[in-house]
């Protein structure tokens, strides 16, 4: 039996959304699926927190949304990264790497 999806580390969802949108513009569900796939099912953000993060990022000017028709003849809001968002993603990735390395060092100390 597979593990239950775990909660995201506090404050990392924004970064993951940015990363996902850095690959290609996507709608909310696409972002969700991508995060699930890339984390191999470890993370599965629920609708509320995902769209809350999207709203926050949009208001911060890091991503922008646009209504477009989907393949099944419905319309969905596709989000893409802005220049500012790209820069933020780069910074956050670097900072995250630093923190993870530091935490790993602490945990491996003997």
């Amino acid at each position: 039996m597979p593990h239950k999806p775990s909660d995201l580390v506090q404050g990392t969802l924004d970064m993951l959304v940015l990363k996902t949108l850095g690959l290609e513009p996507m709608h909310g569900f696409g972002i969700c699926v991508r995060i699930e796939q890339m984390s191999r099912g470890v993370f599965r953000p629920n609708a509320g927190s995902l769209f809350l993060a999207i709203q926050r990022l949009e208001r911060d000017g890091l991503i922008e949304g646009e209504w477009r028709p989907t393949e099944n003849n419905r319309r969905a809001k596709y989000y893409s990264l802005t220049g500012k968002g790209r820069k933020r993603l780069k910074n956050e990735t670097r900072e995250w790497g630093r923190q993870v390395a530091a935490i790993a060092r602490i945990l491996e100390a003997r």
Binding site: H27, G28, F29, C32, V33, R44, N46, A47, G48, S49, F51, L52, Q55, R56, E58, R59, D60, G61, T70, N72, R74, R75, A76, K77
Partner: protein
């Protein structure tokens, strides 16, 4: 920029609520539907797929609430609702509301009045060089000349005035005053008691005038002045920050800070 965008987005969802809600609902609806479609594609019964999506990802209503509570506008909206609720409650029992309002009004009014008094009488220094030594200005008189000695005062303090009117000063020993505003708003100058006491001439005394007189029961005088003209007390504030103690101050309540004018 970011702040502006936040503001604009918040205002939009406050004032175009219908549209914003519709868009959000549509977005969330598409999301949940896509999730369900994904499951039916893998062979799940549509009904079962929807149920399972709701379990895994949350319902549309719950998600909508989460997203809407994220912006600053939800705080504003809550405040507005509270306010409306409050007003409704007040209107429900007008008697109690009126009583509360009246109590507040009286309380605030009384506090303000008392504080105005304390502020003027105690907290503000006078625009003179030595506020602690100054005294209340008493009485008024008319002098046809430049000045006159007040003979009823043992120390013989004298007040001269620019326009020829003269008041009488009960000024403190050693006080150095630059300028006094006399009764009726006229400019009054307290002259050197050494000179005045001897009825001598005071010409050539320049800008510094020394006053020697009997100290007054300062606070009583201050209060009586206050009672007659509660809001015209020393309109100009001293540049100094030290406050005068009520016991030591004589409170010349009509001191003015305008430059000294020579009486001669």
């Amino acid at each position: 920029m970011s702040l502006l965008r936040h503001l604009a987005a918040g205002l939009r969802s406050l004032f175009r609520r219908e549209q914003v809600n519709r868009e959000l609902d549509e977005e969330l609806g598409v999301y949940l539907e896509m999730a369900a479609a994904e499951k039916t594609k893998r062979g799940m019964d549509p009904e079962e797929a929807h149920r399972s999506v709701r379990l895994e990802r949350g319902t549309l209503g719950a998600a909508r609430e989460v997203v809407r509570s994220g912006g600053w506008e939800s705080v504003a909206e809550t405040c507005w609702q509270d306010l409306r609720f409050g007003v409704r409650m007040l209107r429900k029992s007008p008697g109690l509301s009126a009583a509360a309002l009246l109590t507040l009004a009286l309380g605030i009014g009384a506090t303000t009045a008392i504080y105005s008094l304390v502020d003027q009488v105690i907290l503000h220094t006078l625009p003179v060089r030595d506020p602690g030594a100054s005294q209340h200005l008493l009485g008024r008189g008319v002098v046809r000349g430049a000045r006159e000695v007040d003979r009823r005062q043992p120390a013989g303090a004298v007040v001269g005035e620019r326009g020829g009117h003269v008041g009488r000063a009960d000024a403190v020993r050693g006080a150095e005053l630059e300028h006094l505003d006399g009764p009726g708003g006229a400019d009054v100058v307290i002259d050197d008691p050494a000179l005045l006491g001897g009825h001598e001439r005071h010409a050539g005394h320049g800008g510094r005038h020394r006053v020697v007189a009997q100290p007054l029961a300062a606070f009583c005088a201050a209060l009586s002045s206050f009672a007659t003209s509660p809001f015209s007390l020393s309109p100009k504030r001293s540049r100094r920050s030290c406050s005068t103690g009520i016991a030591s101050s004589g409170l010349p309540l009509r001191l003015s800070a305008s430059p000294f004018s020579n009486i001669a």
